[in-house]
Symmetry: C3
Subunit: 139 residues, 3 copies
Amino acid sequence: MKVRTENIHISSEGKTDIIDITHRASTLLEQSELSNGTVTFFASGSTAGITTIEYEPGLIQDIPLAFEKIAPMGQHYYHNATWGDGNGYSHVRAALLGASLVVPFKDGRMLLGTWQQIVVIDFDNRARQRDIVMQIMGE
Amino acid sequence: MKVRTENIHISSEGKTDIIDITHRASTLLEQSELSNGTVTFFASGSTAGITTIEYEPGLIQDIPLAFEKIAPMGQHYYHNATWGDGNGYSHVRAALLGASLVVPFKDGRMLLGTWQQIVVIDFDNRARQRDIVMQIMGE
Amino acid sequence: MKVRTENIHISSEGKTDIIDITHRASTLLEQSELSNGTVTFFASGSTAGITTIEYEPGLIQDIPLAFEKIAPMGQHYYHNATWGDGNGYSHVRAALLGASLVVPFKDGRMLLGTWQQIVVIDFDNRARQRDIVMQIMGE
């Protein structure tokens, strides 16, 4: 059993930008030469989250609209009073979505559905450079 | 340390159908003969998610109502314009809930609460046959 | 590769009380003397969840308000008809947030962001004593 800890660098526009990291994750998994185990994706930061979606142009519009309903950008947030950085909504959205995703792999391949991609959603209110942790554990 | 990758087959009605897989998961864990580690549950697909609930008839009604509020079935979704399959709301709900759940086990038993069951929520807008990945990693 | 299963005891006020467990988790990880792997946090129970946030006084107010919008306390829940314990909203909130969080660690340190804390959110409608499972797997 081995552990490989990698980073996937993303450049995001923020504002609920949705970034597909599936291809880079698959390449890193191949390079690890491990066959069976889990991949843990983790967003180190409190304004981004990770999930899976069918990455297509319609949902790229629908998902931000759903988050706008849950935690609207223009609403009052106590967080903004603390820091004055105006991204209270970003923190609330990220807390709800969650920072970790675990994907099992078998025979060197992540067990994703055909139309299922791994995405980072960057909720911050500005463009960001981020490193997403990808940790592969297996044999 | 060993890895066992299993499937749990479910027949769902879709439309936020909630299916309890705890019993089958416990049986597969027993058969693995592993004592300590984690079980990763993963929905391979972008219209279902996994979580834990107290599986009782009241919540089986309450949880779909909560999702109906978050991402209503009858609303406009850009996803539907892309594919015309009318399940935009299913994708949005699944992305929010998340495709993975990790449950630790000790002495051969998952560390669930007494009133806590592992459930798959199938958000698709039609009946589906699905395989849920259950991967056991431990010693 | 080793597995260590620990408990983190919390005393909560319930009612979407948010409790920072980062410090105790870091101490337990140090004591494990493991260097690389994953930590799985799991809430054994169906009225609490786990996520990460920037733990600061503003968000401690904002996050309960967001959950109040998603699953209001005063609304009708079928769960309450089943048990009469009045915590239907707690169950719905916990199901949405999720019971598990997985945090990778490297060189003996969890790969959290600088302003990112691990929190338990206790949604129950009364004060509770709880044990959160912290399972460390690594080498």
